[in-house]
């Protein structure tokens, strides 16, 4: 890809991505409250969004679905979940334990 094309591409990607984030500035001081139903749907966004990151990155590590015992990320995910339950509010421990487990299991399996 030529540099000039790449610059246009980056400008376009940046512009549309900014548009997706700008509502942060415009929804912060709305006068009317949102309908209750909308609030209840928005409350579910974090769980839905985090699951939409975790599941594919564990079950589709190389871009295609790998639900089998030889996928070390599956076992590492169990380790990370266990550590996250044991150490709520910690990011460091699940991160460290999960990555170490992934390396070790990858070597073992």
């Amino acid at each position: 890809m030529a540099t000039s094309t790449a610059l246009i591409l980056i400008a376009g990607m940046a512009a549309v991505t900014y548009l997706t984030r700008a509502p942060l500035a415009f929804l912060s001081r709305r006068r009317a409250k949102l309908p209750k139903a909308v609030d209840r749907v928005l409350e579910q966004i974090p769980v839905a969004a985090f699951a939409a990151i975790v599941f594919p990155s564990v079950l589709q590590p190389g871009g295609h679905t790998e639900i089998e015992a030889s996928n070390a990320y599956l076992w590492a995910a169990l380790v990370a979940v266990g550590v996250a339950i044991a150490r709520p509010r910690s990011l460091v421990w699940p991160l460290a334990a999960g990555c170490v487990a992934a390396v070790v299991l990858h070597e073992v399996i």
Partner: protein, 236 residues
Amino acid sequence: MSTTVSPREEVRLGVRDSIPLGFALVPIGLAFGYGAHVVGLSWWLAGLMSALVYGGPSQFIATNLISVGASVPTIVATTLVANLRYALFAASLAPFLGDAPRSRLLWLCQALADGSYALTLAHARADPTRPRKDRYLLGSFYISAPAWVSSSIAGALIGAALPEFLAYGLGFATPAIFIAFLVPYIRDARAVTVMLVAGLGTVLGNEHLPTGTGPLVAIILAAVLGGLLPWRRRQR
């Protein structure tokens, strides 16, 4: 809880809480930078994309699309769809930022990537009365943005030199940190359902839906189900 917080203290908290996130972003940035290098983007273009777009998944999709020769409008349109979840993030976080100046939110909204959103929302929900929680988001940005941009550049320059076992282990950083974000929310049947519909829906969507649309469709479906089904109130 205390609601008298100095501006610097709120920024400092955002910085402190984001340090693990910064570490988690490095391997992803390295992988993106290396992918960008492979499809012919030079290191400064990889860094520029990370700085201006600042949205990991969409950047990976872009490098994939470049490699198959997709046109600029196609890639830009796909980026829009892949990043529409930020509008959902913005809508769910905005109610906590009512006292932040709009002029600041107009640029600070750029900080709204997955990790900083997760941290800032958890921080805001823990104590909704805290003033100026935008400063916490700014603190998170101070760590996340340099980590993301510099690791993208490093990936483009030295990505190929990483040993395979190390790259494999570091590749688990993303699921690990988002597992840590996710687990505290999983407290009832509704949360489990939302998690499974969004997670498995994304997996299926990645296989069967057009590039970039899987997560968006699954997130909206899961949130609507979780929000609108007549769940029984949790006892206790």
